[in-house]
């Protein structure tokens, strides 16, 4: 432990933050790889070229909407239809970005803009559980490194999936579909153990999402669950959580 501490003091704050961001980003990488590979396989089967499906990961970087996009391309949906559906599905990132950027007030705009572009459900959730770095020296490097770790594995995994095509057995790729959910659970539970109100907020959001899912699209139902469920936190959570 002592040597580790000494090492940390010797490394420059920049290197330290980059390393830390990578370590914290590793579980995201592990969660992304199987999903990205599955996406690549699926997109290839839906008739996209390897270049197109990889480019989609590079430019869009939003899992669920890419699955949906590939599916819609496969069934021959129109461009406008696909773009509007993507907007609806990804609008939840607006709410997440607002919450994230509120935490990053000490970080300059030249960092905030690229960091905001790297926001996904997963990078947001993990960043939101690491709030101290936002005010630490060179803290921006922590978030940048975390996001780049996730981004690289998403893009790389998509490419790999497009290459592997039909080699992966369906049962395996299907089982991997639980990976992101398990990651969300793995991120949530430690906070619930610390403060039970957190679990209550999550359950309320689940219920609201389920109810709105009956008459709204998945994307809007998640927005409703996040916004309204989060509102319950005003009463259920103590001033400073996490």
């Amino acid at each position: 432990m002592d040597t580790e501490l000494a090492e940390e003091q010797h490394a420059s704050p920049t290197i330290h933050m980059i390393r830390k961001g990578f370590t914290v980003g590793l579980p995201i990488m592990l969660g992304y790889l199987p999903i990205a590979i599955t996406y690549g396989v699926l997109a290839k089967q839906s008739g996209m070229s390897l270049m197109e499906l990889t480019l989609m990961s590079v430019m869009v970087f939003a899992g669920a909407s890419q699955f949906m996009g590939a599916n819609m391309i496969a069934v021959g949906a129109g461009a406008l239809e696909i773009i509007v559906a993507t907007f609806v599905l990804n609008f939840r990132h607006f709410v997440m970005s607002l919450s994230f950027m509120n935490r990053l007030r000490d970080i300059g705009l030249k960092w905030k803009v690229p960091l905001s572009l790297g926001l996904t459900d997963e990078t947001f959730a993990v960043s939101a559980l690491h709030t101290k770095e936002a005010s630490a020296e060179k803290g921006a490097y922590f978030y940048a490194s975390l996001i780049l770790t996730a981004y690289a594995s998403w893009v790389g995994g998509s490419f790999l999936g497009g290459l592997l095509g039909e080699i992966i057995p369906t049962q395996l790729s299907q089982s991997m579909g639980i990976a992101l959910y398990a990651m969300f659970i793995g991120l949530l539970i430690p906070s619930v153990k610390k403060e039970w109100g957190v679990g209550l907020v999550a359950v309320i959001a689940m219920l609201i999402n389920t109810i709105f899912n009956q008459f709204l699209s998945d994307g809007w139902a998640i927005v409703a669950g996040t916004v309204l469920g989060g509102l319950s936190g005003v009463f259920l959570l103590k001033g400073e959580t996490s």
């Binding site: 430019m59 990804n90 689940m206 999402n209 669950g225 936190g233």
Partner: protein
């Protein structure tokens, strides 16, 4: 045509992500609003987990729920997220055999 779709998808994904970076400095939030924004990550996690987890195996919602229960148990034991994910994948894999 697919390229046009990709560019369109990229724009409508990027714009909502980036707008908060520009407006958040101009906003002063009251205490209750800060608590709201701080609760958003947990609410988002909840909404992302359920009911989506039931669609892992589309016609067998129970399998997703069992995989989720295993994840909760492993996470509660304090295991690293990577092990939680691996445990859930193995569970679903075994259940679909």
């Amino acid at each position: 045509m697919i390229i046009a779709i990709i560019i369109g998808m990229a724009l409508v994904t990027m714009i909502p992500r980036v707008i908060p970076a520009f407006i958040v400095d101009k906003l002063q939030f009251r205490d209750w609003m800060n608590r709201w924004l701080n609760a958003i990550p947990f609410a988002a996690l909840g909404a992302l987990i359920f009911p989506g987890i039931m669609t892992v195996i589309p016609d067998k919602p129970v399998i997703g729920l069992i995989g989720g229960a295993v994840a909760v148990a492993l996470a509660y034991l304090g295991l690293n997220v990577i092990l939680v994910v691996a445990g859930a994948i193995v569970t679903v894999f075994l259940l679909t055999m």
